[in-house]
Structures are given as C-alpha cells and as structure tokens.
C-alpha cells in the first residue's frame, strides 16, 4: 500500500504557461553596407522565459540579438528596416533614448569584461550613472541584491573592494550579470556567455539562468546546442540570415519541422 502511494507520487513536468510577448520583431532586415545580414525576421520573445538563438557562424543570430538593444547603432554602415517593439513600444522610434533602452535591455558578452575597478564599483556604476539610488546605503543594497541574484554574493561579500578583474572567469561573468541586473532591466541579452568558461562555471551560469527567468526575459545566443536545449524554453534557428524555425525547445530538438533545422541540430551541416 505504501509502495503504491509512493509510485503514484509522480514527478510532474513543468508545463509552460502561455507567455506574453515581451519583444516582438516584425520583418526585420539588417544590412551591413550592401550585404544583407538578416532577412525578414519575424519573431516573438516570450516574457520571463529563456529564448535561445542558435545557428552556424554568420547566420545572423548575434546580429539579431544586437538589434534588440540597438547595439548595431554604433556600426556606421549598418542599416535596419522593419519593427522591433518592447512592450508594444517601437525601440527604433526617433524619440527613444538609447541609453535608457539599454538599461531596460541589458547585455552580457562572450568574454567577461568587468571594468578595471573594484567588484563593488563594477555593480554600482550603472545605478550611479542612471541615478537609480539616492543614498549610499541604498546603493549598497542594490549592489548586494544584484550580486545575490547573480549567485556571486557568497563568494565576494568579504572582498568587495578587490578588483573585479581578479576574479575567476566564471565569477567575472557572474559579476557582469550582476552589473546588468543592477540597473533593473526587464530583458537580459547574452551573447555566448559561457563560451570562455569551463564546464563547472558553465553549469553555474546555466543554473543562474534558470533562477533569473523568474524575473527577467532572457535571450541567449549560444553555439552549444546542448546548452540551448538545457536552458531555454524557446529556440529559434537562424541560417544564412533567415529565421528558419522557432518554437518550443523540446519540439525543436525532438521533432524539428524544417529539414535545415534537423540537419543543423543533428550535426549534419555546419
């Protein structure tokens, strides 16, 4: 009887609640000079989920990621058409303040790039320049909570004044995540955040992503298909500048609909 009761205690797979779209991109085309890097990309990014962008090198996935917080603006020859809306607001509208946009849509890069300052200053820098805090204690609170959310607090609490560059690669990456979180973004973009990290540091970031998606919408570009499969709820596959397929991650990895997707995820095309 007891055994039967135990057996009935089944583990239920988490079911995805239908999510609201945080970002919608419609017919986005990106040109670098004459070269078209993205062709007519229409993709919804669901709120408070991890969306993985996968595809071979040069497929446009990083280009697309950079469109989401207008990082491509800094490239002179880059031209963008189509619309990208964050919470229904066109982020390419003339009156949008790019600095504010980037506070809402934070970014973490491939190589950890802490400022050559103390751990504390690395995290405090954003809230300071955006004027998000009004007192020293408030700033200290923001630094502490950001480091906690980035799962780094326990490792650095007693050495906040030491340089951020003195941390290990994985810690530096989590410091960069804490720095992005400190300005209270809604969306965090990550461009291959684990490619410079060892498997343990990678696992910690992946665990962190799982925690962060409770509060943030995350878009991650990754070359590791296993990583995309592990961390994301939605996967979008890009190839030669086209969005070939997007959908539930489990669907993309078990029953991809497009042959190109199938060939890529099974390792038949590079």
């Amino acid at each position: 009887m007891e055994m039967q009761a135990q057996r009935l205690n089944l583990v239920e797979l988490p079911e995805l609640a239908p999510a609201r779209s945080k970002i919608t991109s419609s017919n986005v085309n990106v040109f670098y000079g004459d070269k078209q890097a993205l062709k007519d990309v229409t993709l919804d990014i669901p709120e408070k989920q991890v969306t993985a962008l996968i595809g071979p090198s040069g497929c446009g996935k990083s280009t697309f990621l950079r469109c989401l917080n207008r990082m491509n603006d800094v490239i002179d020859i880059c031209r963008i058409t189509g619309a990208i809306e964050l919470d229904g607001q066109n982020i390419y509208a003339p009156d949008v303040d790019v600095v504010t946009l980037r506070a809402h849509v934070g970014m973490v890069f491939q190589k950890p790039n802490p400022f050559p300052k103390s751990i504390f200053e690395n995290v405090a820098y954003g809230p300071k320049i955006h004027g998000l805090t009004s007192s020293k204690t408030e700033l200290e609170d923001v630094v502490e909570s950001s480091l906690k959310r980035a799962s780094l607090w326990d490792e650095v609490a007693d050495r906040l004044q030491e340089p951020g560059t003195g941390l290990s690669g994985g810690q530096q990456q989590r410091l960069c995540i804490a720095r992005a979180i400190a300005v209270q973004p809604d969306v965090i973009l990550m461009d291959e955040p684990c490619s410079a990290l060892d498997p343990i540091a990678t696992a910690r970031i992946e665990e962190l992503l799982d925690e962060l998606r409770e509060n943030y919408t995350i878009v991650i570009v990754t070359h590791s298909m296993q990583q995309a499969a592990r961390v994301s709820q939605k996967t979008a596959f890009f190839h030669l500048g086209e969005l070939v397929e997007s959908g539930d991650t489990s669907g993309v990895f078990t029953t991809p609909q497009d042959e190109r997707t199938s060939n890529y995820v099974t390792g038949r095309i590079g």
């Binding site: 499969a229 990895f253 078990t254 029953t255 997707t261 199938s262 390792g267 038949r268 095309i269």
Partner: protein
Amino acid sequence: MESNHIVTSFDQELGQAETLFLEMGGLVESQIAEAAEALVRRDVEQAEKVRTRDSEVDALETRIDELAVRLLALRQPVADDLRMIVSTLKVSANLERIGDYAKNVAKRTTVLANSNPVGSSSDTIRRMSKLVREMLTNVLDAYVARDVSAADEIRRRDEEVDQIHNALFREILTYMMEDPKAITPCMHLLFIAKNIERIGDHVTGIAEQVHYLVNGKMPDDDRPKGDVTSFISHELGAESDRA
C-alpha cells in the same frame, strides 16, 4: 539511413546499430518460420534448435541496448537521430519478446510431438505463423524505409491474425469437447496459437514505432482489436456479454 553527419564516427555507430537491428530482425523471422515448421513436421530436433538459438536473439538485444545507451551518453543525439535510437531500443524489446514466443512454440512442440495429432489445427497454426512472419518482414522493411503507410497496412493486417486465432480457439474447444484425452495436446495448441497471436501484437507495436520514427508521435487512431477469445464462453461459439 541518412549517413552524412559531420562526425563520421557518429554515422558509423548509427550504422552499426541499424546493422545489429536488422540482424536481430532476420534472426527472429527465421525463428518464427522454423518453430512453425518444427510444429507441423513434429520435428523435435528442429524445435530444440529454435530453443537454443533464442539466446542469440537475447544477446543481440543486449548488444543493441549497450550501443544505444553509449550513443545517448556520448553523442547526445537529437531530432531524428534521437528518435531512431529510442525506437531502436523499443523495437529490439519487441523483437526479443517475439523471439521468446517462438521459443515457447518450440518448447510445446517437443511435448506435442509425443501425442496424437489433433485435427487440422496445426495447418491453421502454420497459416497464422506464416502471416505474422510476413507481417514482421514487411514491418522491418517499412521501418528501414521509414514508410508510414506500409506500417499502417501492417497494423490493419493484425486483425486477420486475430480472426484466425478466434477461429482456431473455437476449433480447439470442439476437439476438447469431443475427446477429453485430447485436452493436453489441445491446451498446448491453444497456448501456441496465443503465442503467435501475441507476435502479431508486437509486430503492430513495431509498426507504431515507424510512426514515432518518422513523425515524432504515435498514431492517433485506435487499431481495430480483433481478438475476442476472452469473451468466448463454454457454450461453444457463444460470446458472453462483452459489457
């Protein structure tokens, strides 16, 4: 099978799994054929051969399992590769069970060979086993060719097997009523018939795996169930209230 992964050794291992799988399928087919032949010819020696060869079927299943687990662990397959490995695991389990049924038929044949033949039921059993063996050959072909419509055709043919089984069940009941001395061989024949009927069910299980392999999901429709022997009452031929 498509063989164009960037990593050639992955293709080689997938190819190895398919080769083992086909070898197992071929062996199981011949086990069914030989078990039926041994029964009809009352050939104890051949029946004995079928019994001993079952260990070869089991060994192949173990090798397929090991290779599949290795592929899952080391290659982390996805999409059609993943589905191929998962369905190979399931189908090899089906084949192993089919092999067991062939062995059971052979076991009972050794007993039956020493008793008087009962009516024409062994001919009917031969017909039935020929049918399931053909279905097995066809389903393995459908599996290799990833042919869903051929697999569906085989699922429908299982109804034929069930009908022969029903008829045989009634026929054997008659023999038992006519002559109580025939009860022992008749019971063996009944079990043999049931074994072959179960082989048909496992063949349709493989046909369903062809669906999974190709579409990533099992067929939606319920296959017609034709085995009504569970409802046949002692009043010969009468089917009890099936509610």
